[in-house]
Symmetry: C2
Subunit: 367 residues, 2 copies
């Protein structure tokens, strides 16, 4: 078991990463002196509930906590105001008060949804993350929580740091393979933006990671979380540096949106986005090897790096225009300088993006 | 014109109180160096819009700001997640970005709604309050913003401090008389919880306040805001002292809820709540004059202080049980000790509340 401290002054919190942690949830709650008089709300989805909900409920109840649970439908569509309101109903009917804890048991969808509930219920209650996907190593660090608006993703949300993150890597064994690959996209991203050595490590451990080898996973997840934690500590509210975490995301979010949040998983969409960012950098003068190495690394994990031909360029550009990374109407992009290093560029033109989209339609997917 | 500084560390902000301020909105925005590149969203309601919206739009536009406006239906029902989502749609379609400002032009309903939009749009943008009711002297200080859940009031919200409050008292001239009285209930409350001299001043200036005399209003509103600001500065997130602002509110919110937010205005409901709190204090041993003086002060403003006979005791108690002031299932009440002084009491029994409800049904309304 590893413990990683996210350093945010009085909002600092620990991430516990290891096996078998869900079964010990109750004692972690006790260690953190969470109130036993107030009901705990566990939010999860209908894929995760049959696998792990009982375990968490029992552990908490054995320690003397009362729990109520809300199971939402699995998938991005649950990150909506409608489902948010339904979770609030459960919270109110369950009698949650200001000392209650809201738990997110699941992937990034449940984490973002439950986190926004925790941020807003009675104007904010304690939040505990219990991530069950690889992708959630990213989403559980940094305190960004949100639901989607039908016009744009993550548009409605808050910054709300958890009290702790209990990351039980045993749960990852039941993840569908496609989710494993997509989650690893964010791990690779952490290497690409910050740490060339870690990017190399990811490349060298591709097959062990895909095989969900426990020690390899714990190392990779801890490293990924710690890179994110360093960036976030430096800039909790995304005024500057934190934007680098958005490598691949401006385009990625647009792809998710025009695919109706069904065609691409988040990790797949940002994988294409990272390939595009590398290509834009190359078109601006970087060495072509930067693009090639990026694509090789991502496709090693079975991640997509080409633009599907059926996607309409106008639609992609239109969706990007709604994206919140357009600070004052200018196109802000995160572009790689080299593996492990990126820059925030605020003068990328729509034409450059169009060209990258077109070029990526001509590329062949390497798998 | 008076300026009052609300002291909250890096979240401190000024309240400007005086006549003709809306027509100068543009220059206040410039003084606060708010971005001219990002669209400003003005949220208001359909009573206020025909009276004051154009003035604000023009002033901002003359200073070079682009504005988009969203007019919601007047009334508490607009503090819902549905209307919240509609305002978000306007914000997105209007192209608001992270440097945009959301303005609340109106009373507490618009303030709470627009404030929660500002708190959540892209996880938080700048918020400016332009209160147009007397009650809003209360709601515009302290950063509490929220919408209602159909099961309970103000259940979904945030703490989000404004950048500034522009309080143009000329707008109060068009307020319906019933709203004037209801708004003054919160002013009186500020005297009752904190400052016996100010409570006396309110009593001595009852008719000037009701007649909306400009200087009297500016003094009373400034004093009311400053009491609230002192309490909030001490306890921004309501961990202790701030609870005293809830004098009359636990019962008041229940009355609003069972009246479907239509029978009582907020100020009327808390007026009955303040009478009830005084009665509970008397039943616990305080001198009966405490209750009599409270009732005399409130009824001087034409505010209700008796419990309407048609209201069902069980329903009132049931609604209170949903209220968020029930910390860990105990009944927390704010009770007066004397005029200008209250205490936070955590052991009020349901029976004591029932008795006060019954007794207040037998009282005669003095007007
Ligand atoms: N807040 C942030 O900083 C942040 C960062 C990155 C991504 N995100 C968000 O995260 C979301 C994506 O997260 P995700 O990829 O975890 O998606 P997800 O939560 O939808 O989980 C993916 C799928 O795996 C299932 N699942 C989860 N755990 C499982 C397990 N242990 N065994 C079997 N099945 C399991 C889920 O039911 C779902 O079907 C997106 O909404 C994205 O916007 C947020
Ligand atoms: N956030 C807080 O700290 C806080 C504190 C107290 C109350 N509140 C909230 O405030 C709300 C009540 O506020 P309110 O009493 O201002 O209600 P309101 O906003 O509904 O305004 C009352 C009525 O007056 C109309 N109106 C507003 N300004 C006018 C003007 N200048 N001329 C003519 N008509 C005008 C409105 O359209 C409305 O019909 C409640 O929702 C309550 O929960 C919040
Ligand atoms: Zn991501
Ligand atoms: Zn009030």
């Amino acid at each position: 078991m590893r413990t990683l401290q996210v350093d945010l002054g009085e909002r600092s919190y620990p991430i516990y990463i290891g096996g078998g942690l869900l079964a010990k949830a109750g004692s972690y709650f006790e260690d953190h002196q969470l109130s036993k008089k107030s009901p705990v709300l566990i939010v999860t989805d209908d894929h995760v509930a049959p696998l792990y909900l009982k375990q968490v409920e029992e552990s908490l109840e054995n320690s003397g906590y009362r729990t109520v649970s809300k199971v939402v439908k699995a998938g991005e569509k649950s990150k909506s105001l409608g489902v948010f309101e339904a979770v609030m109903t459960t919270a109110i009917e369950g009698g949650l008060d200001r000392r209650s804890v809201v738990v997110a048991l699941g992937g990034g969808v449940v984490g973002d949804l439950a986190g926004f509930v925790a941020a807003s219920y009675m104007r904010g209650v304690t939040f505990v993350q219990m991530p069950t996907t690889i992708l959630a190593h990213d989403s559980s660090v940094g305190g960004k929580v949100a639901v989607n608006h039908h016009l744009a993703k993550n548009m409605i949300g808050a910054f709300h740091q958890p009290e702790m993150v209990l990351y039980d890597v045993e749960t990852l064994q039941s993840l569908p393979e496609r989710e494993v690959r997509a989650g690893l996209a964010e791990m690779v991203k952490h290497g690409l933006i910050w740490d060339a050595e870690f990017a190399d490590w990811c490349r060298d451990h591709t097959s062990k990671l895909l095989a969900l080898d426990a020690d390899t996973l714990v190392y990779g997840l801890t490293k990924g979380c710690s890179i994110k934690a360093q960036v976030v500590s430096d800039d909790e509210r995304e005024l500057g540096l934190r934007a680098i975490l958005n490598l691949g995301h401006t385009l990625g979010h647009a792809l998710e949106a025009i695919g109706g949040y069904g065609e691409f998983l988040h990790g797949e969409a940002i994988s294409i986005g990272m390939a595009a960012a590398a290509l834009i950098a190359v078109n601006r003068g970087a060495d072509r090897s930067l693009y090639e190495e990026t694509v090789a690394l991502l496709s090693g994990f079975g991640l997509p790096t080409v633009m599907p031909k059926h996607l309409d360029e106008e639609q992609i550009i239109g969706a990007m225009m709604h994206d919140k990374k357009f600070k004052e109407q200018k196109l802000v992009f995160i572009l790689p300088l080299s593996i492990g290093k990126v820059e925030i560029v605020s003068d990328v033109t729509v034409e450059e993006v169009r060209r990258a989209i077109r070029d990526l339609k001509e590329e062949e997917q390497h798998v």
